[in-house]
Amino acid sequence: MTVPTPGADDAMSTTRNTTPEQRTAAEHRTGVEQRTAVEQRTGAEQQPTAVHQAAVEDRADVDGEISGGPAAVVEQRLHPVTPLRRAWAPVAVVIGWAVHDPDGAQRQLTRLDPSTLLIGLAVLVPAAALYGFLTWWFTHFAVTDSELRIRTGLLFRRTAHIRLERIQAVDVTRPLLARIAGVAKLRLDVVGTDKKDELAYLGEGTARALRAELLARAAGFAPDSAQDVGEAPERQLLKVPPGVLAVSLVLTGATWGTLLAAVVVPSVLWIATESLWTVLATALPLLGAAGASSVGRFVGEYDWTVGESPDGLRIDHGLLDRAHETVPPGRVQTVRIVEPLLWRRRGWVRVELDVAGSSNSVLIPVAPREVAESVIARVLPGVRVPDAAELVRPPARARWCVPLWWKGYGLAVTDTVFAAREGLLRRQLALVPHAKVQSVRLAQGPWERFKHVADVHVDTGANKTVTARLRDATEAAALLHAQAERSRTGRREALPDRWMA
């Protein structure tokens, strides 16, 4: 049976179905951060009756629950429109083929007579429908006190157990078509989960209720009350007006750069080759890139709202595809304040953030500096963004290592964050709370040694490294040890994983 008994403890589920080598490797783990997403696969060849067994189980599922442990786990299925989400794929393949080879498509079409077409459709459509139905039928999820369990697969069964206290973020996204159908995707970001661990699709109401329940359980509410806690109240911190967003995109170099490239490169090619196809083949991707960096970003970042709730930080955005992200307290690894050259006169900044295991990276697409700093103070409690005067530049001899741009580097260490600035035209200030530092490294090349300077790298859990470049070597050596010390003491004061417990 591939169904995990609800009472199985974590150690069991980590090491089950593993070879002796894997088990030793698991034992060598320090136990600090257990594998967050425990995955289990069963191949059809190992278990010829897997499908049959699953069918038996599913008959049991009709009753709504599987008994077999002290607390029964209620398994649920995804929304019934789910099978349709891949319905466009065969149509797209046919269209792609027709566009790629128009003459061939025409010839094939004339050869088809209505009866073959009908027979073909009569076979293909039910087959696709059956496949869609079966994948939907064999996908289940269940929420237990400590885990979200996802069970999928027809021939190759896969069971993922995602531990709730390791949750880094919850995303509920509603692409345009899903919005029309009234459904949403829910994704739990934990270190190690991938694309297939998202629940697509759920009814909009279900997704919202599930998110609230998952967050309540992750926060540490009592298991039996977690379902009734409901959504936490939200307080809006910031809303980006569409006008400001549009102006900010106009003032971004990348927008003009791609647009310029889309105009100049094809014209030059036209003069050089006079071949329409070459020009089209280069112009279309370039125009696409220009569109994505301007219109695409506008559509994606439209109506950007940042809110705060006891669940953590809430980010809502999108014009056509709506996305809603919740980052529980204490999950932000780094925050970066980016200040492009053309925004400086208006005092605007863009704020990016890194959360381990999550692909979202923008906190605020554009906002005045003071507003952005007040939002950062909410996101990283107790953190004050050091101002330009506090950032110490490298010693002047660093100009021999990095000419001109050395002036852009700066470092400030407060009692809560390690802040390093880089860039001369497009300034970027990265903040790492001391509690989020995984390791500290000092690196020094031969030329840097000659100039008596060194770089200090601070590694964080979101696989981002923040570097204080070209510090005086003695200062850097002291910084290395002081930072390791600070990150250790900082961790002691950090929030627990279950932030409400």
């Binding site: 060598h28 136990g31 600090v32 989020k436 390791s439 690196a443 590694d459 859990g461 950090a494």
Partner: protein, 179 residues
Amino acid sequence: MDTVCRTYAGGMETGTVEDGAERAQGEPVWTGLPRGLLRMRRLLLVVWLGPIAVGTGVLLGWLAGPGWTAFALLPLGLLLWGWPMLGRNWRSWRYAERADDLLISRGVLWREETVVPYGRMQLVEVTSGPVERHFGLASVQLHTAAAATDARIPGLDPEEAERLRDRLTQLGEARSAGL
């Protein structure tokens, strides 16, 4: 830096980090790598470059003329240059177990010093390839949640590697901290 640098003279005598006096002072007690690693690397250098030098010399002398044999000096020079370089690199590697973190320092031209707090360790790995096994060596690698953390100690005695692994695991559990 004023350090105590022991180069592994007496097998298992490396466990002296335990004594509290040195730890209290905060000055790290550095441990070097066993000589076996240097022997292995030098042997590999000779095994690769020696035959290449001889092969180039003989082949060119035979096919192109005796003057071309001079090209054999190229790998030979590399060999002669690499020999002391390996020694310097080997001497530069050292590590120290402190009360709360592990220090690894290495490199001659490109120096790098890494500090990994025990509480941040996710996984401690002991590996030993066929060549390393032949020389009785094993490497210990620490992984944290950050992939950039490059904390590897190569060429340890297998017993020392296992001792280090167990100690690190134990300390990691005691000081465990999440992401």
